[in-house]
Symmetry: C2
Subunit: 545 residues, 2 copies
């Protein structure tokens, strides 16, 4: 299907250019706030002002061949001539950029606070100067917890159109960034379509493309090929690169006795290169040259954890923490060059070992944002690793992890299809929001409270619309009570009218409210007097019950 790219890959046609699903979720509209047109989603709620939530979905339907509106073009144009036009450079020079203001409005904080966090290295705004379509977002532990969705085809599967649709599908459900992990043919073309149509930062693992260029011969990899590939991708507008510069020669033998050794693709590639050449990792020895290139385009570092544990048995071992130490050293080098940096983390970690990961990372990486994959809290549930990992992700998010890389139900088994992408994104939106609640992030609770009120008042339509996944909530409700009448029924299929605790509570509440009873009073007056009160006023309450 579709038009054909130079290398013959199937690219999106105009017919697929329009999203095959509704632009907005039910009873929601995209609103754009202020002179920077910062996007939000307003969810209409019966009889109350709409609930305004964060919105990652991007502008409404457009032709994929045109790409998204280039909202950052003018912002970036003004900055020509600055050697290191990174958000960190501006922040450290006291300049609040449009990107910082944009993020401040999105997060409901002061622009100056955003600037300070970025200057301190505690937060980053991944925003390549060549990605004008971007709606800037901030990653840092003093902001909302973010989630990343991985897409990308492999030698085994899928075409460009499919990947672009996955991008839009992932952001529709709430992905804050998307990584394109394509390894098959057409990596370049696929990436171009993705970046031009992405409102969220795009991340890649450049070593994958390098390996394609040397036809899989790891030993032929070199720093020059790597830098050339970085530049190719930076010019396309990729916002952050995963770079496994911490896989040092002397860490490699530490993985030999592990149950699952090295499980990171990039990590194993660099390990193989190091062993073959009996030389130190060229990403480490030439790190300064990489920094110079990154800052030219303001591509953020995502320092890869190539030695992350691949099973709970290998968690928090010498190899993992040794590499983390090195990532901490590299962070300081990158900062000195005004590059933005985040640090990647595990992986597979049982619950009791999660906190140590967060504590150590903040310590050895000077509070640079942490970006973990899960972690998965058990190894025995392939097919359900979005759940085994949502548990660990929610916990580490609460402990201070800034971004959570999703895991789909297909992890360890295959590449995610559209359904898997949605399941992974929803599981991680749950983990991130649970973490925001636990951190007491201002405003995080408003959404929950709106849902709870709707639940208590039997506003079924509002419950569906306020749900992270309105379609599924409605579908599940209708399975047992399909009748439209049931949408306004003051009971539900779980209990039926007799047993409706909500109904009874309403009476209790009305009664107590009518009596102006506070908890204190209730206790002070004591049982006896209270009984009398009930005797006098109680009856009428329950005539209508």
């Amino acid at each position: 299907m579709g038009t054909s790219t130079t290398n013959g890959a199937s690219a999106p046609s105009s017919s697929t250019a329009m999203r095959p699903w509704a632009d907005d979720l039910p009873n929601s509209i995209r609103v754009e706030v202020g002179d920077l047109a910062v996007p939000f989603r307003d969810i209409a709620v019966t009889g109350e002002s709409p609930v305004r939530v964060y919105n990652t979905a991007g502008p409404i339907a457009h032709d994929l061949r045109d790409g998204l509106p280039k909202r950052r073009a003018d912002w970036v144009a003004k900055r020509w001539g600055i050697a290191a036009p990174t958000q960190r450079w501006f922040a450290r020079h006291g300049i609040v950029t449009e990107e910082m203001r944009f993020c401040a409005i999105r997060e409901n904080v002061a622009p100056e606070f955003v600037r300070q966090e970025i200057a301190a290295g505690r937060a980053i705004i991944p925003a390549n100067i060549n990605h004008p379509e971007l709606e800037p977002m901030i990653i840092g532990r003093k902001f909302l917890v973010k989630i990343n969705a991985n897409i990308g085809n492999s030698a085994v599967t899928s075409g460009i159109a499919e990947e672009v649709e996955k991008l839009q599908w992932a952001t529709r459900w709430g992905a804050d960034t998307v990584m394109d992990l394509s390894t098959g043919p057409n990596i370049h073309a696929t990436r171009e379509w993705i970046v031009r149509n992405s409102p969220v930062p795009i991340g890649t693992v450049p070593i994958y493309q390098c390996l394609e260029k040397v036809k899989g011969k790891v030993e032929d990899l070199s720093i020059d090929l790597f830098l050339e590939t970085l530049e190719e991708q930076a010019l396309q507008g990729v916002d952050y690169f995963t770079i496994h510069a911490g896989v040092l020669l002397h860490y490699i033998p530490m993985t030999a006795k592990r149950v699952t050794g090295i499980v990171s693709r990039g990590g194993s590639i660099m390990a193989k290169w190091c062993l073959h050449h009996h030389e130190e990792n060229f990403l480490y020895t030439h790190f300064d040259r990489i920094c110079d290139l990154m800052r030219k385009y303001d591509v953020s570092f995502s320092l890869g954890d190539g030695l992350r544990p691949g099973c709970t048995a290998d968690a928090n071992d010498e190899a993992q923490f040794g590499e983390l130490q090195t990532l901490g050293e590299l962070t300081k080098i990158a900062w000195a060059k005004d590059c933005q940096v985040m640090i990647e983390g595990p992986g597979h970690v049982p619950m009791h070992l999660i906190q140590e990961n967060m504590t150590k990372q903040l310590e050895v990486c000077d509070e640079a944002p942490f970006y973990t994959l899960g972690p998965l809290t058990t190894d025995v549930a392939p097919g359900y690793d979005h759940i085994t990992s949502a548990i660990g992700a929610a916990m580490i998010g609460w402990f201070g992890c800034a971004m959570l890389c999703y895991v789909t139900p297909k992890e360890h088994l295959g590449l995610p299809n559209k359904k898997d992408v949605k399941d992974g994104v929803i599981a991680y939106r749950i983990a991130a929001h649970a973490a925001d609640l636990a951190k007491g992030h201002p405003g995080a609770r408003l959404w929950d409270d709106a849902m709870s009120k709707a639940r208590f008042e039997f506003r079924w339509e509002d419950q569906f619309n306020l749900a992270l996944d309105p379609d599924t909530a409605r579908e599940f409700h209708d399975e047992t009570l399909p009748a439209e009448g049931a949408k306004s029924a003051h009971f539900c299929s779980m209990c039926g009218p007799h047993f409706c605790s909500m109904k009874i509570t309403e009476d209790v509440r009305q009664y107590a409210a009518a009596q102006g009873l506070s908890d204190e009073e209730a206790l002070r007056k004591g049982m006896e007097e209270k009984s009398q009160e009930f005797t006098e006023k109680g009856a009428e309450v329950y005539l209508q019950a």
Copy 2:
């Protein structure tokens, strides 16, 4: 379909009597160990001894009309004449019962340890003397974390056959106990079919049947009707009763200002009764009479949290902790009568407030086992509450909660169907196992390590068989690599051959092993010497890579 019960309800016919699915999971067999024939599941693993795991599925196919073999009949018969034939009474009199020995073998601990935990009230074995079909199990924080699955029809849905099938389906996937929450007609008949065919303890909420008896008129409830109903259910063999004796009159006004008031069905029923009669909860005022009946049959108390929070906003409030205090007082009364007791807990609790629930419960209830519903860590994801709650369940299980009541994807939306029951059970098996790992429960890790080894060695069939849900694991793998050959392929669809980190690690490991390198050595010898080593021996390793 099927034969008809006295009250005309549709009961299972012989055709549905045989389970409509395979008796054992793939490559697994049920084994029975020792003179008590304690069940386990042995999972065959290529080239290694089988992995032996806990087994809740019960005996293989039988005719539902006959019920399960009555393995406890003789054990119980010997005990006639004892006024309080409870496991607690025996434990406190230094007697190790067959049930205790059975649990000791299941948990791989000493029988004397089981006896001590029960005597101390830190654990219970719910085992009604009239439930001879039971395969005894123990609930306590020093044992494996258990999970409960709720089934039961309501006025709105489903028949007896369907509920019995849900029972077998739930235990097949790992439910340790099952609560029958039926509220519609045929409660008695449904329960009879369930108990006779259940290898796991059955719990109920007797107040539901009482309310049916008074045709939904809460004010007509009385202690005599309640005791009569308890006896009816105790005679059938129900193993534990949820009793909301902690909902006291003076706590009720404390719920008036909540966002969602009272959400427990039993709690709201008792609240309504109290307000109507302006009297104290009759379950509280006549608690001693309830104890006398419970101990006669050794029905365990599950003291209900009728005032649990129904949303994160109401978590850990005065009403909730006030009731908990009362449950602690009642625990001592029940213990004095040698009744077994566990305590029910929330509900909806954000992550940062979960630990306090566990700490307070252990303190005010003298370490009686805690049994929580979730808790759900956010309110905004109806349709995914098996995930919002698995996060909280795993955490509180790690903190010391003894049993986790599952939440299905249908929570807040409708009654669970078979798929929902499975999804809920699997999510909770994950939470419980993650908690066992975090608690360092002896042997818990063996299963994970076996899976990780199979993963590292590309033993795909073993990975499927070792999975909590082998069917789904295989199905997901086959979606991308259906060919039988792929089952033995030394790579998978995620990376393809070039990028296979596992493959590369194998080389690294073989190399290091061949050199007899330990981490220590590797570090001691230092980089230089190591480089030389690699130069000498390295080449040949990668000739075959």
